[in-house]
Amino acid sequence: MLEVEDLHVSYGGVTALDGVNISVPTHGITAVLGPNGAGKSTLLKSIAGLIRPRAGRVTYNGRALIGMAPEEIVRLGVSMVPEGGGVIRELTVEENLRVAQMWHRNGGDARKAIDEVMAMFPPLAARRHNAAHSLSGGERQMLAVGRALVSRAELLLLDEPSLGLAPKFVALIMQTVRKLCAERGISVLLVEQNARSALSIADKAVLLSAGRTVAARSAGELAKNEELWHAYLGY
Protein backbone atom coordinates (compact mmCIF):
# COMPACT_ATOMS: atom_id res chain seq x y z
CA MET A 1 0.00 0.00 0.00
CA LEU A 2 2.70 2.45 1.06
CA GLU A 3 6.31 1.99 0.09
CA VAL A 4 9.12 4.15 1.42
CA GLU A 5 12.39 3.56 -0.35
CA ASP A 6 15.81 4.88 0.56
CA LEU A 7 14.44 8.10 2.06
CA HIS A 8 16.92 10.82 2.95
CA VAL A 9 15.93 13.96 4.82
CA SER A 10 18.14 16.66 6.24
CA TYR A 11 17.38 19.84 8.15
CA GLY A 12 19.86 22.48 7.05
CA GLY A 13 22.78 20.11 6.77
CA VAL A 14 21.84 17.90 9.71
CA THR A 15 20.81 14.47 8.52
CA ALA A 16 17.55 13.23 10.03
CA LEU A 17 16.79 10.27 7.76
CA ASP A 18 19.65 8.44 6.12
CA GLY A 19 18.16 5.77 3.89
CA VAL A 20 14.90 4.56 5.43
CA ASN A 21 12.98 1.68 3.85
CA ILE A 22 9.50 0.76 5.02
CA SER A 23 6.68 -1.15 3.46
CA VAL A 24 3.21 -0.74 4.95
CA PRO A 25 0.85 -3.50 3.90
CA THR A 26 -2.86 -3.05 3.22
CA HIS A 27 -4.78 -3.72 6.43
CA GLY A 28 -2.96 -3.95 9.67
CA ILE A 29 -0.84 -1.81 11.94
CA THR A 30 2.80 -1.11 11.32
CA ALA A 31 4.64 0.37 14.29
CA VAL A 32 7.74 2.49 13.87
CA LEU A 33 9.85 2.31 16.99
CA GLY A 34 13.14 3.80 17.98
CA PRO A 35 14.87 6.05 20.45
CA ASN A 36 14.45 9.81 20.57
CA GLY A 37 15.93 11.46 17.51
CA ALA A 38 15.79 8.31 15.42
CA GLY A 39 13.77 10.18 12.80
CA LYS A 40 10.38 8.64 13.48
CA SER A 41 8.39 11.87 13.29
CA THR A 42 10.43 13.09 10.35
CA LEU A 43 9.44 9.93 8.50
CA LEU A 44 5.72 10.60 9.04
CA LYS A 45 6.05 14.26 8.10
CA SER A 46 7.85 13.32 4.89
CA ILE A 47 5.08 10.90 3.94
CA ALA A 48 2.40 13.50 4.72
CA GLY A 49 4.15 16.09 2.56
CA LEU A 50 5.10 18.45 5.37
CA ILE A 51 8.81 17.94 4.77
CA ARG A 52 10.47 17.61 1.41
CA PRO A 53 13.03 14.79 1.41
CA ARG A 54 16.43 15.23 -0.18
CA ALA A 55 16.27 11.88 -1.93
CA GLY A 56 14.28 8.67 -2.01
CA ARG A 57 10.80 7.59 -2.99
CA VAL A 58 7.41 7.38 -1.30
CA THR A 59 4.68 5.66 -3.27
CA TYR A 60 1.10 5.14 -2.17
CA ASN A 61 -0.92 2.67 -4.23
CA GLY A 62 1.56 3.25 -7.02
CA ARG A 63 1.46 7.07 -6.87
CA ALA A 64 4.58 9.04 -6.02
CA LEU A 65 3.85 11.31 -3.05
CA ILE A 66 7.08 13.31 -2.89
CA GLY A 67 6.55 16.80 -4.19
CA MET A 68 2.79 16.69 -3.60
CA ALA A 69 1.26 19.26 -1.25
CA PRO A 70 -0.04 17.92 2.10
CA GLU A 71 -3.62 18.88 1.20
CA GLU A 72 -3.45 16.77 -1.95
CA ILE A 73 -1.93 13.77 -0.17
CA VAL A 74 -4.82 13.81 2.32
CA ARG A 75 -7.23 13.68 -0.56
CA LEU A 76 -5.66 10.40 -1.69
CA GLY A 77 -6.66 8.90 1.67
CA VAL A 78 -3.44 9.33 3.66
CA SER A 79 -4.31 11.14 6.86
CA MET A 80 -1.79 12.26 9.45
CA VAL A 81 -2.56 12.83 13.11
CA PRO A 82 0.29 15.02 14.32
CA GLU A 83 1.82 14.82 17.76
CA GLY A 84 -0.62 16.13 20.35
CA GLY A 85 -3.51 15.59 17.93
CA GLY A 86 -3.15 18.86 16.06
CA VAL A 87 -6.69 19.99 16.68
CA ILE A 88 -7.57 23.55 15.72
CA ARG A 89 -7.98 25.05 19.17
CA GLU A 90 -10.19 27.97 18.20
CA LEU A 91 -12.77 25.86 16.36
CA THR A 92 -15.41 23.76 18.07
CA VAL A 93 -15.21 19.97 18.17
CA GLU A 94 -17.81 19.69 15.44
CA GLU A 95 -16.13 22.33 13.29
CA ASN A 96 -12.85 20.45 13.53
CA LEU A 97 -14.61 17.40 12.16
CA ARG A 98 -16.42 19.35 9.45
CA VAL A 99 -13.22 20.93 8.14
CA ALA A 100 -11.74 17.47 7.69
CA GLN A 101 -14.56 16.19 5.52
CA MET A 102 -15.49 19.26 3.49
CA TRP A 103 -13.68 18.32 0.37
CA HIS A 104 -15.86 15.22 -0.02
CA ARG A 105 -18.87 17.36 -0.93
CA ASN A 106 -21.74 15.07 0.02
CA GLY A 107 -23.77 16.52 2.82
CA GLY A 108 -25.98 13.71 4.11
CA ASP A 109 -23.17 11.24 4.42
CA ALA A 110 -21.08 13.86 6.16
CA ARG A 111 -23.51 14.33 9.05
CA LYS A 112 -23.71 10.59 9.52
CA ALA A 113 -19.95 10.27 9.68
CA ILE A 114 -19.76 12.97 12.38
CA ASP A 115 -22.51 11.26 14.39
CA GLU A 116 -20.58 8.00 14.16
CA VAL A 117 -17.50 9.62 15.63
CA MET A 118 -19.62 11.11 18.42
CA ALA A 119 -21.01 7.66 19.18
CA MET A 120 -17.53 6.18 19.17
CA PHE A 121 -16.14 8.80 21.56
CA PRO A 122 -18.83 9.85 24.05
CA PRO A 123 -16.64 12.53 25.70
CA LEU A 124 -16.57 14.37 22.36
CA ALA A 125 -20.35 14.25 22.04
CA ALA A 126 -20.64 16.04 25.37
CA ARG A 127 -18.37 18.81 24.09
CA ARG A 128 -19.58 18.92 20.53
CA HIS A 129 -20.06 22.70 20.48
CA ASN A 130 -17.18 23.64 22.77
CA ALA A 131 -13.94 25.10 21.45
CA ALA A 132 -11.30 22.41 21.06
CA HIS A 133 -8.90 24.18 23.43
CA SER A 134 -11.15 23.11 26.29
CA LEU A 135 -10.45 19.42 25.57
CA SER A 136 -8.08 17.27 27.60
CA GLY A 137 -5.08 15.63 25.95
CA GLY A 138 -6.94 12.34 25.60
CA GLU A 139 -10.00 14.03 24.12
CA ARG A 140 -7.81 15.83 21.60
CA GLN A 141 -6.41 12.51 20.43
CA MET A 142 -9.95 11.18 20.11
CA LEU A 143 -10.91 14.22 18.07
CA ALA A 144 -7.84 13.83 15.88
CA VAL A 145 -8.57 10.17 15.20
CA GLY A 146 -12.23 11.01 14.63
CA ARG A 147 -11.21 13.66 12.15
CA ALA A 148 -9.16 11.17 10.17
CA LEU A 149 -12.19 8.87 10.13
CA VAL A 150 -14.65 11.43 8.79
CA SER A 151 -12.17 12.23 6.04
CA ARG A 152 -12.41 8.51 5.14
CA ALA A 153 -8.71 7.93 5.49
CA GLU A 154 -7.41 4.61 4.24
CA LEU A 155 -3.98 5.01 5.73
CA LEU A 156 -3.64 6.64 9.11
CA LEU A 157 -0.29 8.14 10.12
CA LEU A 158 -0.26 8.42 13.91
CA ASP A 159 2.52 10.42 15.52
CA GLU A 160 3.02 9.53 19.19
CA PRO A 161 -0.67 9.21 20.10
CA SER A 162 0.18 8.17 23.65
CA LEU A 163 2.47 11.10 24.39
CA GLY A 164 1.49 12.82 27.62
CA LEU A 165 -1.66 10.76 28.10
CA ALA A 166 -2.80 8.95 31.23
CA PRO A 167 -2.43 5.15 30.91
CA LYS A 168 -6.17 4.58 30.67
CA PHE A 169 -6.35 6.93 27.66
CA VAL A 170 -3.35 5.26 26.07
CA ALA A 171 -5.18 1.93 26.34
CA LEU A 172 -8.39 3.43 24.97
CA ILE A 173 -6.66 5.04 21.99
CA MET A 174 -4.72 1.87 21.20
CA GLN A 175 -7.85 -0.27 21.41
CA THR A 176 -9.76 2.14 19.20
CA VAL A 177 -7.00 2.09 16.60
CA ARG A 178 -6.98 -1.72 16.67
CA LYS A 179 -10.76 -1.81 16.31
CA LEU A 180 -10.82 0.64 13.40
CA CYS A 181 -8.21 -1.40 11.69
CA ALA A 182 -10.22 -4.58 12.03
CA GLU A 183 -13.66 -3.12 11.31
CA ARG A 184 -12.94 -0.63 8.57
CA GLY A 185 -9.90 -2.10 6.92
CA ILE A 186 -7.83 1.00 7.65
CA SER A 187 -4.06 0.65 7.58
CA VAL A 188 -2.05 2.38 10.26
CA LEU A 189 1.51 3.55 10.44
CA LEU A 190 2.06 4.18 14.12
CA VAL A 191 5.06 6.06 15.47
CA GLU A 192 5.57 5.46 19.16
CA GLN A 193 8.04 6.13 21.88
CA ASN A 194 6.04 3.76 24.07
CA ALA A 195 7.25 0.55 22.40
CA ARG A 196 5.35 -1.87 24.62
CA SER A 197 1.93 -0.39 24.04
CA ALA A 198 2.62 -0.03 20.32
CA LEU A 199 3.72 -3.65 19.98
CA SER A 200 0.65 -4.77 21.88
CA ILE A 201 -1.54 -3.77 18.92
CA ALA A 202 0.85 -3.80 15.96
CA ASP A 203 1.13 -6.54 13.35
CA LYS A 204 4.50 -5.45 12.12
CA ALA A 205 7.26 -3.36 13.61
CA VAL A 206 10.08 -1.36 12.10
CA LEU A 207 12.98 -0.22 14.19
CA LEU A 208 14.69 3.06 13.33
CA SER A 209 17.95 4.27 14.73
CA ALA A 210 19.93 7.37 13.75
CA GLY A 211 17.85 7.80 10.62
CA ARG A 212 18.21 4.24 9.34
CA THR A 213 16.01 1.17 9.29
CA VAL A 214 17.75 -1.37 11.47
CA ALA A 215 15.09 -4.06 11.63
CA ALA A 216 11.67 -4.91 10.19
CA ARG A 217 9.96 -7.88 11.83
CA SER A 218 6.58 -9.06 12.86
CA ALA A 219 5.54 -7.37 16.09
CA GLY A 220 5.63 -10.64 18.01
CA GLU A 221 9.15 -11.42 16.89
CA LEU A 222 10.48 -8.01 17.74
CA ALA A 223 8.89 -8.12 21.16
CA LYS A 224 10.77 -11.33 21.88
CA ASN A 225 14.10 -10.29 20.36
CA GLU A 226 16.01 -9.22 23.45
CA GLU A 227 19.09 -8.25 21.53
CA LEU A 228 17.33 -5.64 19.40
CA TRP A 229 15.24 -4.56 22.32
CA HIS A 230 18.25 -3.83 24.50
CA ALA A 231 20.31 -2.29 21.75
CA TYR A 232 17.71 0.16 20.51
CA LEU A 233 14.88 0.52 22.94
CA GLY A 234 17.04 0.52 26.02
CA TYR A 235 15.01 -1.42 28.53
Binding site: L50, A69, P70, E71, V74, G86, R89, A100, S151
Partner: protein, 292 residues
Protein backbone atom coordinates in the same frame (compact mmCIF):
# COMPACT_ATOMS: atom_id res chain seq x y z
CA UNK B 1 -25.95 70.40 22.40
CA UNK B 2 -27.03 70.54 18.78
CA UNK B 3 -23.41 70.85 17.74
CA UNK B 4 -22.59 67.73 19.78
CA UNK B 5 -25.31 65.78 17.97
CA UNK B 6 -24.04 66.96 14.60
CA UNK B 7 -20.49 65.91 15.49
CA UNK B 8 -21.76 62.56 16.73
CA UNK B 9 -23.69 61.82 13.54
CA UNK B 10 -20.89 62.86 11.21
CA UNK B 11 -18.48 60.92 13.41
CA UNK B 12 -20.57 57.79 12.96
CA UNK B 13 -20.68 58.24 9.18
CA UNK B 14 -16.91 58.76 8.98
CA UNK B 15 -16.36 55.93 11.46
CA UNK B 16 -18.16 53.50 9.19
CA UNK B 17 -15.63 54.22 6.45
CA UNK B 18 -12.74 53.68 8.86
CA UNK B 19 -14.47 50.48 9.93
CA UNK B 20 -14.57 49.25 6.32
CA UNK B 21 -10.83 49.83 5.90
CA UNK B 22 -10.18 48.37 9.36
CA UNK B 23 -12.16 45.29 8.34
CA UNK B 24 -9.97 44.91 5.26
CA UNK B 25 -6.86 45.08 7.47
CA UNK B 26 -8.38 42.60 9.93
CA UNK B 27 -9.26 40.11 7.18
CA UNK B 28 -5.70 40.12 5.91
CA UNK B 29 -4.24 39.99 9.41
CA UNK B 30 -6.42 36.99 10.26
CA UNK B 31 -5.53 35.16 7.08
CA UNK B 32 -1.82 35.87 6.78
CA UNK B 33 -0.70 37.67 9.98
CA UNK B 34 0.42 40.59 7.86
CA UNK B 35 -0.48 44.25 8.33
CA UNK B 36 -1.20 45.41 4.82
CA UNK B 37 0.11 48.96 4.64
CA UNK B 38 -0.88 49.05 0.96
CA UNK B 39 -4.57 48.69 1.86
CA UNK B 40 -5.24 52.42 1.41
CA UNK B 41 -3.26 52.65 -1.82
CA UNK B 42 -5.12 49.62 -3.21
CA UNK B 43 -8.43 51.31 -2.37
CA UNK B 44 -7.23 54.53 -4.02
CA UNK B 45 -6.32 52.55 -7.15
CA UNK B 46 -9.69 50.82 -7.36
CA UNK B 47 -11.41 54.18 -6.91
CA UNK B 48 -9.49 55.57 -9.91
CA UNK B 49 -10.64 52.54 -11.86
CA UNK B 50 -14.20 53.25 -10.74
CA UNK B 51 -13.85 56.85 -11.93
CA UNK B 52 -12.59 55.68 -15.31
CA UNK B 53 -15.57 53.34 -15.64
CA UNK B 54 -18.01 56.06 -14.55
CA UNK B 55 -16.59 58.51 -17.12
CA UNK B 56 -16.70 55.90 -19.86
CA UNK B 57 -20.22 54.67 -19.13
CA UNK B 58 -21.78 57.63 -17.35
CA UNK B 59 -23.15 55.20 -14.77
CA UNK B 60 -22.14 55.38 -11.10
CA UNK B 61 -23.19 51.82 -10.31
CA UNK B 62 -21.09 50.34 -13.09
CA UNK B 63 -18.15 52.21 -11.59
CA UNK B 64 -19.06 50.91 -8.13
CA UNK B 65 -19.13 47.34 -9.45
CA UNK B 66 -15.92 47.97 -11.38
CA UNK B 67 -14.13 49.01 -8.18
CA UNK B 68 -15.30 45.87 -6.37
CA UNK B 69 -14.16 43.61 -9.21
CA UNK B 70 -10.86 45.48 -9.44
CA UNK B 71 -10.46 45.00 -5.68
CA UNK B 72 -10.99 41.25 -5.98
CA UNK B 73 -8.52 40.99 -8.84
CA UNK B 74 -5.85 43.28 -7.36
CA UNK B 75 -6.05 41.54 -3.98
CA UNK B 76 -5.72 38.12 -5.55
CA UNK B 77 -2.77 39.23 -7.69
CA UNK B 78 -1.05 40.88 -4.72
CA UNK B 79 -1.30 37.71 -2.65
CA UNK B 80 -0.51 35.20 -5.35
CA UNK B 81 2.40 36.96 -6.97
CA UNK B 82 3.89 39.16 -4.22
CA UNK B 83 2.87 38.21 -0.69
CA UNK B 84 3.20 34.46 -1.35
CA UNK B 85 6.98 34.92 -1.51
CA UNK B 86 7.25 36.44 1.95
CA UNK B 87 4.48 34.60 3.81
CA UNK B 88 6.85 32.15 5.45
CA UNK B 89 9.71 34.58 5.96
CA UNK B 90 10.36 36.99 8.81
CA UNK B 91 7.40 39.34 9.48
CA UNK B 92 9.51 42.37 8.63
CA UNK B 93 9.82 41.19 5.02
CA UNK B 94 6.06 41.28 4.64
CA UNK B 95 5.87 44.75 6.19
CA UNK B 96 8.51 46.05 3.77
CA UNK B 97 6.71 44.37 0.87
CA UNK B 98 3.36 46.01 1.64
CA UNK B 99 5.09 49.38 2.12
CA UNK B 100 6.75 48.86 -1.25
CA UNK B 101 3.43 48.05 -2.87
CA UNK B 102 2.00 51.21 -1.29
CA UNK B 103 4.79 53.34 -2.82
CA UNK B 104 4.52 51.67 -6.21
CA UNK B 105 0.74 52.18 -6.43
CA UNK B 106 1.01 55.82 -5.39
CA UNK B 107 3.64 56.31 -8.11
CA UNK B 108 1.99 54.33 -10.89
CA UNK B 109 -1.53 55.72 -10.51
CA UNK B 110 -0.50 59.35 -11.25
CA UNK B 111 1.50 58.07 -14.23
CA UNK B 112 -1.75 56.71 -15.66
CA UNK B 113 -4.37 59.20 -14.49
CA UNK B 114 -2.34 62.27 -13.44
CA UNK B 115 -1.78 63.62 -9.96
CA UNK B 116 -4.34 66.42 -9.90
CA UNK B 117 -7.18 66.41 -7.41
CA UNK B 118 -10.39 65.09 -8.94
CA UNK B 119 -13.98 65.17 -7.87
CA UNK B 120 -15.77 61.88 -7.49
CA UNK B 121 -19.52 61.48 -7.94
CA UNK B 122 -21.83 60.32 -5.19
CA UNK B 123 -24.97 58.33 -5.92
CA UNK B 124 -26.89 60.45 -3.43
CA UNK B 125 -26.62 64.04 -2.26
CA UNK B 126 -23.75 64.77 0.09
CA UNK B 127 -25.53 67.84 1.51
CA UNK B 128 -27.21 67.57 4.89
CA UNK B 129 -30.96 67.31 4.47
CA UNK B 130 -34.08 68.61 6.04
CA UNK B 131 -36.89 66.17 6.57
CA UNK B 132 -40.22 67.75 7.47
CA UNK B 133 -38.54 70.92 8.69
CA UNK B 134 -36.18 69.05 11.04
CA UNK B 135 -32.54 69.51 10.24
CA UNK B 136 -30.73 66.22 9.86
CA UNK B 137 -26.96 66.36 10.06
CA UNK B 138 -26.61 63.21 8.01
CA UNK B 139 -26.72 63.50 4.24
CA UNK B 140 -28.39 60.82 2.14
CA UNK B 141 -24.90 59.77 1.11
CA UNK B 142 -23.97 59.38 4.81
CA UNK B 143 -26.94 57.07 5.24
CA UNK B 144 -25.86 55.16 2.13
CA UNK B 145 -22.36 54.86 3.62
CA UNK B 146 -23.67 53.48 6.89
CA UNK B 147 -25.96 51.04 5.10
CA UNK B 148 -23.26 49.76 2.73
CA UNK B 149 -20.72 49.18 5.50
CA UNK B 150 -23.26 47.44 7.72
CA UNK B 151 -24.21 45.24 4.78
CA UNK B 152 -20.55 44.33 4.17
CA UNK B 153 -20.09 43.54 7.87
CA UNK B 154 -23.19 41.35 7.85
CA UNK B 155 -22.02 39.58 4.70
CA UNK B 156 -18.63 38.84 6.30
CA UNK B 157 -20.29 37.58 9.45
CA UNK B 158 -22.51 35.24 7.44
CA UNK B 159 -19.55 34.10 5.35
CA UNK B 160 -17.33 33.27 8.31
CA UNK B 161 -19.96 31.89 10.67
CA UNK B 162 -22.33 29.96 8.48
CA UNK B 163 -20.65 28.79 5.29
CA UNK B 164 -18.24 25.96 4.66
CA UNK B 165 -15.97 28.36 2.79
CA UNK B 166 -15.90 30.57 5.87
CA UNK B 167 -15.09 27.62 8.10
CA UNK B 168 -12.20 26.66 5.86
CA UNK B 169 -11.00 30.26 5.87
CA UNK B 170 -11.11 30.32 9.67
CA UNK B 171 -9.25 27.01 9.87
CA UNK B 172 -6.62 28.44 7.53
CA UNK B 173 -6.34 31.61 9.57
CA UNK B 174 -5.99 29.84 12.92
CA UNK B 175 -3.76 26.94 11.96
CA UNK B 176 -2.64 26.79 8.32
CA UNK B 177 -0.40 23.75 8.82
CA UNK B 178 -3.14 21.70 10.43
CA UNK B 179 -5.69 22.88 7.88
CA UNK B 180 -3.40 21.52 5.16
CA UNK B 181 -3.32 18.13 6.86
CA UNK B 182 -7.12 18.15 6.78
CA UNK B 183 -7.20 18.64 3.04
CA UNK B 184 -7.84 22.39 2.98
CA UNK B 185 -6.26 24.04 -0.06
CA UNK B 186 -4.68 26.77 2.00
CA UNK B 187 -2.97 28.64 -0.83
CA UNK B 188 -6.23 29.26 -2.69
CA UNK B 189 -7.96 30.42 0.47
CA UNK B 190 -5.20 32.92 1.21
CA UNK B 191 -5.55 34.32 -2.29
CA UNK B 192 -9.31 34.50 -1.81
CA UNK B 193 -8.84 36.13 1.60
CA UNK B 194 -6.72 38.91 0.12
CA UNK B 195 -9.23 39.32 -2.71
CA UNK B 196 -12.16 39.70 -0.31
CA UNK B 197 -10.19 42.06 1.93
CA UNK B 198 -9.18 44.27 -0.98
CA UNK B 199 -12.79 44.32 -2.17
CA UNK B 200 -13.80 45.53 1.29
CA UNK B 201 -11.08 48.18 1.17
CA UNK B 202 -12.27 49.29 -2.27
CA UNK B 203 -15.66 50.06 -0.71
CA UNK B 204 -13.93 52.39 1.76
CA UNK B 205 -12.24 54.08 -1.20
CA UNK B 206 -15.56 54.63 -2.97
CA UNK B 207 -17.16 56.04 0.16
CA UNK B 208 -14.30 58.41 0.97
CA UNK B 209 -13.87 59.96 -2.46
CA UNK B 210 -17.07 62.04 -2.80
CA UNK B 211 -16.24 64.14 0.29
CA UNK B 212 -12.43 63.92 0.52
CA UNK B 213 -11.95 63.97 -3.27
CA UNK B 214 -9.67 61.68 -5.25
CA UNK B 215 -5.90 62.08 -5.58
CA UNK B 216 -3.04 59.59 -5.39
CA UNK B 217 -2.58 59.80 -1.63
CA UNK B 218 -6.15 60.56 -0.63
CA UNK B 219 -6.33 57.36 1.42
CA UNK B 220 -3.18 57.89 3.48
CA UNK B 221 -4.93 59.54 6.43
CA UNK B 222 -7.83 57.08 6.15
CA UNK B 223 -5.33 54.21 6.37
CA UNK B 224 -3.94 55.66 9.60
CA UNK B 225 -7.47 56.00 11.03
CA UNK B 226 -8.47 52.55 9.78
CA UNK B 227 -5.32 51.01 11.22
CA UNK B 228 -5.95 52.71 14.57
CA UNK B 229 -9.51 51.38 14.49
CA UNK B 230 -8.29 47.87 13.70
CA UNK B 231 -5.74 47.96 16.52
CA UNK B 232 -8.38 49.30 18.89
CA UNK B 233 -10.55 46.32 17.96
CA UNK B 234 -7.67 43.89 18.40
CA UNK B 235 -6.70 43.37 14.71
CA UNK B 236 -8.27 39.92 14.84
CA UNK B 237 -11.92 40.70 15.23
CA UNK B 238 -14.35 41.90 12.52
CA UNK B 239 -16.71 43.15 15.24
CA UNK B 240 -13.73 44.90 16.80
CA UNK B 241 -13.09 46.62 13.46
CA UNK B 242 -16.65 47.97 13.45
CA UNK B 243 -16.55 49.17 17.05
CA UNK B 244 -13.00 50.50 16.61
CA UNK B 245 -14.02 52.35 13.43
CA UNK B 246 -16.97 53.98 15.15
CA UNK B 247 -14.84 54.85 18.19
CA UNK B 248 -12.17 56.49 16.04
CA UNK B 249 -14.78 58.23 13.88
CA UNK B 250 -16.46 59.73 16.94
CA UNK B 251 -13.20 60.64 18.68
CA UNK B 252 -11.84 62.38 15.58
CA UNK B 253 -15.13 64.15 14.99
CA UNK B 254 -15.11 65.55 18.53
CA UNK B 255 -11.42 66.46 18.30
CA UNK B 256 -11.97 68.18 14.95
CA UNK B 257 -15.13 69.90 16.12
CA UNK B 258 -14.01 71.16 19.50
CA UNK B 259 -10.21 71.43 19.20
CA UNK B 260 -9.71 72.15 15.51
CA UNK B 261 -9.55 70.12 12.31
CA UNK B 262 -5.76 70.25 12.15
CA UNK B 263 -5.55 68.05 15.22
CA UNK B 264 -7.45 65.07 13.78
CA UNK B 265 -4.42 63.20 12.43
CA UNK B 266 -2.43 63.86 15.58
CA UNK B 267 -5.43 62.79 17.64
CA UNK B 268 -5.53 59.43 15.82
CA UNK B 269 -1.85 58.84 16.51
CA UNK B 270 -2.28 59.78 20.17
CA UNK B 271 -5.14 57.28 20.42
CA UNK B 272 -3.02 54.62 18.69
CA UNK B 273 -0.11 55.14 21.09
CA UNK B 274 -2.53 55.18 24.01
CA UNK B 275 -4.06 51.81 23.00
CA UNK B 276 -0.67 50.23 22.49
CA UNK B 277 0.40 51.38 25.96
CA UNK B 278 -2.74 50.54 27.88
CA UNK B 279 -4.24 47.55 26.11
CA UNK B 280 -1.91 46.34 23.36
CA UNK B 281 -4.02 43.29 22.60
CA UNK B 282 -6.99 45.49 21.68
CA UNK B 283 -10.48 45.44 23.08
CA UNK B 284 -11.82 42.31 21.43
CA UNK B 285 -9.03 39.77 21.55
CA UNK B 286 -8.36 37.40 24.40
CA UNK B 287 -4.98 36.01 23.44
CA UNK B 288 -2.81 38.17 21.25
CA UNK B 289 0.02 36.76 19.22
CA UNK B 290 1.27 39.72 17.33
CA UNK B 291 4.45 39.52 15.33
CA UNK B 292 4.80 43.17 14.33
Amino acid sequence: MNYFIVLTLTGIAAGMIYAALALALVLIWRATRIVNFAQGALAMTTTYIALAVIRATDNYWLGFAGALIAGLVLGAIAERFLVRWVENGPPLNAVILTLGLFLILEAVVPMIWGAQIRGFPAPFSIAATQIGGAFIALSPFNLFTIGVVLAVMAAMLLLFRFTSLGLRMRATAFAPDIARLLGVRVGRLLTLGWAIATLTGSIAGLLVAPTLLLYPNNMDAVLVYGFTAAVLGGLDSPVGALVGGLGIGLALSYIGGYLGGDLEAIGALVILIGILMVRPQGLFVHSAERRV
